[in-house]
């Protein structure tokens, strides 16, 4: 009797599992998607892959390490380590170093209108036409630096984004060890 019962249970769970595997199948490569969501989408190629998606896929398939993305920085590596359940590690300097966020600026008086930078830009953030001056749409620029190298007259420079009221952040506390302040005894809980 109990033998039959156990057999029955096995069959039942088998059916349940089979059903679940069909019903809840996940389409696409969910791990690569999650990895890509963490990557900064700079599309700079510093990781040795042509863009963030290929790098994400390479990490997902185990072909690349998690510490090859300089724009994502240490924080990005931590997030990837967290997601994949592996040890965090320092950024691999072979692929570059972490820098503050910057944008490309074209010195327009020197621009000859060759369109080479326009072709190099991975996010189409440079506008202009042949023999016409080009300019960078600063808001769309990811700071990938891919436009620097192709420029024949070296008129593109990377400039740090200045801190102003629009991007200022409250600083995290700095803990100082000094003698304690004298408490005020007049305050009471309501």
């Amino acid at each position: 009797m109990s033998f039959l019962l156990i057999c029955g249970l096995f069959v039942l769970f088998g059916i349940l599992l089979g059903f679940a595997s069909v019903k809840f199948r996940v389409k696409g490569d969910p791990v690569a998607d999650k990895i890509e969501a963490i990557l900064p989408q700079t599309q700079c190629g510093q990781c040795s892959f042509p863009g963030c998606r290929p790098y994400a896929e390479a990490i997902a398939s185990g072909q690349a390490d998690i510490n090859q993305c300089p724009p994502g920085g240490q924080e990005g590596i931590e997030a990837l380590a967290d997601l994949l359940g592996v040890e965090s590690k320092p950024l691999n300097a072979e692929f570059g170093v972490e820098k503050p966020k910057r944008v490309a600026i074209i010195h327009e008086q020197d621009c000859i209108g060759c369109t080479k930078c326009i072709q190099a830009c991975p996010v189409d953030a440079i506008v202009g036409a042949a023999k016409q001056m080009h300019t960078v749409v600063a808001n769309e620029c990811t700071g990938c630096e891919l436009c620097i190298e192709p420029c024949p007259v070296d008129c593109i420079v990377m400039e740090p984004i200045p801190e102003d009221l629009s991007n200022w952040q409250w600083p995290a506390p700095v803990v100082v060890a000094k003698p304690a302040a004298q408490p005020d005894l007049n305050v009471q809980h309501a």
Binding site: W170, P173, A177, A180, A181, Q182, P183, D184, L185, V187, H189
Partner: protein, 343 residues
Amino acid sequence: MKFETAIAPHLLPVNRVDWVMAKVLLALLPGIIALTVYFGVGVWVNIVIAVITALVLEAVLLKWRGLPVVPALKDLSAMVTAVLLAISLPVIAPWWLVLLGTAFAIVIAKHLYGGLGYNPFNPAMMGYVFLLVSFPVPMTAWIAPTPVAGFDWTVLEQVAFNLGLGLPEQVQFDAITLATPLDRLKTEIALGHPISAIQNAPVFGYISGKGWEWVALGYLLGGCWLLWQKVIGWQIPLGLMLGLALPAGLGYLLDSEQFANPGFHLAAGATMLGAFFIATDPVTAATSSKGRLFYGALIGLLTYLIRTFGGYPDAIAFSVILANLCVPTIDYLTRPRVFGQRS
């Protein structure tokens, strides 16, 4: 004119950890005085040994962990742990017992878990339980309270005994020890004697035991002062007392010869010390108001269950540690509703 900036609030803080701890120490005094009056000066020897051990070990550990030593010693938290443990131990506990218990409390229960603020278990109670399970004989050897003691010894002789220098000639060890009221009650009930008969023994007093009830009153007084000073909240003491008194009352109503009355439970053993000084240790207690009520009640209930049905006469230490284990769950289940959010 230029100024240094800082981040709000700019108002001076109104509390200080060391003041809180100092007030706790001060509030312990009435209970300690009652202990001294009824059980001799041994408690002071215990306190001195425990405090010195705690401070030295705390300093060594902080130094070893590369943390600032002086500010951490000045917060008095190690001292509070030491004093709480010292007054929980039998007054005639040998010096090495006090030293070992304090060392366990500071090294294992406090610093191994990360030091002040990070320890999940009450260090003093961890030290106490460690001693109780490792050295049950000296841990249950309580001295007879003065009114029923059939001997007389000087302060110097008492100190010498605690320091392991032996008893004076005219006193026998068996003569100075006497089972505590809780212990006695437990043994006698197990032998089938009715409570009304048991309580005729000289060790029992008006409510609980001779001397014990005055010690409890001392802690109650100190505890009320802490409440008034807003050092502790009412939730944990009240929860603990209700958690103990309600089941005790129920048992008493069912069979008053088998189960002691709630008043006895409240005034006996370490109930008051536990309710106002031990369970209220903020580091290891639940954090929300409602959570603290539950936390206190859980300690009270566990204490009653262990005292009545368990293997130990008193149970505050075990109950506190068991309740410490439940704190994360209690905190999770009693999260208050945030203003403007649905529950």
